[in-house]
Symmetry: C2
Subunit: 203 residues, 2 copies
């Protein structure tokens, strides 16, 4: 019995991720996780010692998942307009694939930030990215509006993430069905690309 059956530890980890993302830490019980993993309730603590430890392990993975693809794009040696477009497309794809991810991260960090920041080397990687150099060069030679990474990056990300985080309220507010929203989100994505690029790139 090698890889035909998945290891119990991994089954629990994956089930826990699904449940935590959907219900949050406070809304998730050990029994929810055991049931989702189709395993005995005691195994959660056998493998991970506590609900808290299991959560922290998963949260770290989720936070890295959130930054990893973006980081790869930020470091590509491509035109800045193209780079912004790719980040937004990537964000958009991520929100469609994992609709719970961003609101989960935001909410958990908001509720207890101190508990959730371990040695996050990924943060340093984001700060020291190739985009930073592009911004400095562009500002120096007058092709880009002078802006810091910390100013432009949220402007790139907020548009897509905001409408997906608030998908249900936007649907209700503007009386959209699920398919209406899908079309709307695509429109919005293109507005964001154009708006941010127009603002950053001079001429």
């Amino acid at each position: 019995m090698k890889c035909v059956t998945e290891k119990s530890e991994d089954k629990i980890r994956e089930a826990a991720k699904r449940v935590f993302l959907k219900k949050g830490f406070d809304g998730t019980t050990s029994r929810d996780i055991a049931k989702e993993a189709d395993m005995n309730i005691a195994l959660t603590n056998y493998y991970f010692r506590s609900k808290e430890k299991l959560f922290l392990e998963i949260f770290k993975d989720v936070l890295e998942e959130y930054f990893q693809n973006m980081l790869t794009i930020l470091n590509k040696d491509i035109d800045i307009k193209q780079k912004i477009s790719e980040i937004i497309d990537n964000d958009f794809a991520m929100m469609k694939q994992e609709p719970d991810l961003v609101i989960f991260i935001m909410n958990e960090i908001h509720k207890s930030p101190q508990r959730l920041f371990p040695d996050m080397s990924i943060f340093r990687q984001v700060r020291e990215t190739h985009l930073k150099k592009q911004l400095e060069e562009g500002a120096a030679n007058g092709t880009l509006r002078p802006m810091q990474l910390e100013n432009i990056l949220p402007l790139i990300k907020c548009g897509v993430e905001f409408i997906f985080m608030g998908k249900e309220i936007h649907k209700e507010l503007f009386m959209m069905s699920d398919e209406d929203f899908e079309k709307y989100a695509e429109e919005q994505k293109e507005h964001i690309k154009a708006m941010v690029c127009n603002y950053l790139v001079i001429g």
Copy 2:
């Protein structure tokens, strides 16, 4: 004994709002609320019948609080650039005064949308606002890029709300202190105003 002492029902309502906003529905216990209100645990159910009913009542108020000021500005008969600026300033002030409000609304609706939308007449009011007419007129006479209300409104609101919802992660990611963040948020606010107006207003 008229207004010298606050009515118990209101004390509980206000305490519950503070606790719910901070900890969310799942993270809040009836005892948390009773303690915050400095009242006996049984009074929550005496006045509101259940934690759920108390929550729904408060959520409705909070959602209206979120939209009310914006709605007033949306209906003012002022220049569209000025209007956008005022909405953003208003959003900014709201996020400073009630930092938990937007992430609370987003997260609760995300977790269980069906349960939280009663007869929200405020939604209709937002859809039928004076800004909508301004957008139509501007598109017709070529002064504004043709855009629907549902496209421009999130672009106006997402910038400020996103950085405040993610205040702690932005502080950690960009190594900012609280006062750094305050300065940064002000910068960001001006970027957003300029970016959105540049995009919407032609010429």
